[in-house]
């Protein structure tokens, strides 16, 4: 369903993605782990062309893009296949929670206002914000804002939702509510690619985990394998740093 083939991206002389190959099946939950600067955000941003990759192919559903000969129309088509949840929420500040969710439905998907509203209300209820629909982002907590962000993505009914460290900007006590919402959506069979530093969450929720370092996929596998029997030394070192509790069990 999603195929990323030989994806490369450089910023100046800094080659950040060095030929990434990833295949994702419909309904799969993929978590991407990796140290800071390994290119995780850049990879997600290439998937919706917030960054233009230099080389490689991106195929989502029936849209296929070759980085070397891409045109504007293809980019718009590709973007409609995915939706993104940002670390910093990035809600439209001048719109209420409801309007944030309706925006794409009305403007991009050309749904009628009443249809969009009905859909938006349903999704906001799913993320537990039915009593905050008229609040502006500035009136919501970080956790609530991120749940609006998730609702905005989910409402578009994309083929895949991309999460870039959705809980990293949150106060610790608000992380749980957001992870709970993501887990709920995951159970409904939505395809998701999640970049996260929440190791336990990734382990519980994912069908497959991808470990990236230095712009390449170092290792991938089911959570059980990645967390307990890593093949690569780099994966081992990273997980040791990220999950100090493993030390105690030895």
């Amino acid at each position: 369903m999603i195929d990323i083939v030989g994806l490369k991206k450089s910023f100046g002389h800094n080659e950040v993605l060095k030929g990434i190959n990833i295949h994702v099946e419909k309904g799969e939950i993929i978590s991407i782990l990796g140290p800071s600067g390994s290119g995780k955000t850049t990879l997600l941003r290439c998937l919706n062309y917030l960054e233009s990759p230099d080389e490689g192919e991106i195929i989502i559903d029936d849209v296929s893009i070759n980085a070397r000969k891409v045109n504007k129309k293809e980019v718009y088509q590709l973007r409609k296949k995915s939706a993104m949840v940002f670390q910093g929420y990035n809600l439209f500040q001048h719109k209420t929670a409801l309007q944030n969710v309706m925006e794409g439905l009305v403007v991009v998907q050309k749904k009628s206002v009443s249809e969009a509203k009905e859909k938006a209300l349903k999704v906001l209820q799913k993320v537990g914000l039915e009593n905050k629909i008229d609040a502006y982002p500035s009136q919501l907590s970080g956790g609530q804002q991120q749940r609006v962000g998730i609702a905005r993505a989910l409402a578009l009914n994309p083929e895949v939702i991309l999460f870039d460290e959705p809980t990293s900007a949150l106060d610790p006590e608000l992380v749980g509510e957001v992870l709970a919402v993501i887990a709920k959506i995951a159970r409904e069979g939505k395809t998701m690619i999640i970049v996260t530093h929440e190791m336990n969450f990734a382990r519980e929720i994912s069908n497959r985990i991808i470990f990236m370092d230095g712009g390449v996929v170092v290792e991938e596998g089911i959570p059980q394998q990645i967390f307990t029997e890593q093949k690569e030394e780099r994966t081992k070192q990273f997980l040791k740093r990220m999950t100090p509790e493993l030390d105690y069990s030895i």
Partner: protein, 235 residues
């Protein structure tokens, strides 16, 4: 010397007749200038080829020179240009048929446009990059992003600055009396010269300017509150 208060009142009533022209000289350039400023700000924000350097030059020149100069250059220069065009195309028309007020409005519109483009530009840069990216990821095109996400916030952000500009402009229109426009200052000058009571006439003019300013400020206060109702500071 004592102030002749009864003459202040006489002058007041006389000068009041000049208020409509003053308001026209203030608001027509602001409205036209807003459209110019919007276009210029967008051209610069998107760094559009060929147009961007022209826009930069325009803003730099008009902000770098006083409004009185714009009026004078257009007042004296425009007719020459117009006559040239008329001659070239044999038009049944003469440049001295154009009312002076048109020159003044043209000049002040260009002045306002340069200031408004900077105000709108700073409003645009206040919209976070993240929101713009979010808008693109949900599939919007550039036109939709500008219209639905960037401009509403940029303009809401600009209201206080635009208010200041309008008030500044109200007072700037006084220079139009130099090209014999009978706006408030011009009218004050005429009443004053006729009766040789300058102090009284200008006190009356001052009161009128002040009153109009207060009205603009009051309207702006409510507009500002409404425009920024989405931000926490308004609560």
């Amino acid at each position: 010397m004592v102030i002749d208060f009864s003459f202040v009142w006489i002058a007041f009533k006389e000068i009041l007749k000049a208020v409509p022209l003053t308001l026209i000289l203030t608001f027509v350039p602001i409205v036209v200038g807003f459209l110019i400023g919007l276009a210029v700000a967008l051209i610069r924000a998107h760094n559009i080829k060929f147009l961007s350097p022209i826009a930069n030059f325009y803003v730099s020149f008009f902000r770098g020179t006083p409004a009185i100069m714009h009026i004078m250059v257009i007042y004296f220069g425009f007719p020459i240009l117009l006559d040239y065009v008329i001659k070239k195309f044999n038009l049944p028309f003469q440049s001295n048929h154009v009312p002076i007020v048109v020159f003044v409005i043209t000049a002040l519109s260009l002045t306002a446009g340069s200031y408004l483009s900077e105000i709108i530009r700073s409003g645009i840069s206040s919209v976070s990059k993240g929101q713009i990216e979010a808008a693109y990821t949900i599939g919007m095109n550039t036109f939709q992003v500008v219209k639905r996400i960037i401009l509403p916030q940029a303009l809401a952000q600009s209201v206080p600055n635009i208010t200041n500009l309008i008030i500044g402009f109200l007072h700037t229109t006084s220079i139009a009396f130099l090209v014999s426009q009978k706006e408030i200052t011009g009218a004050a000058n005429i009443v004053a010269s006729k009766n040789l009571k300058f102090l009284e006439a200008f006190i009356a003019a001052g009161i009128i300017y002040w009153a109009i300013t207060l009205i603009i400020e009051t309207i702006a206060y409510f507009l500002e509150k409404k425009a920024k109702s989405y931000s926490r500071s308004a609560f």
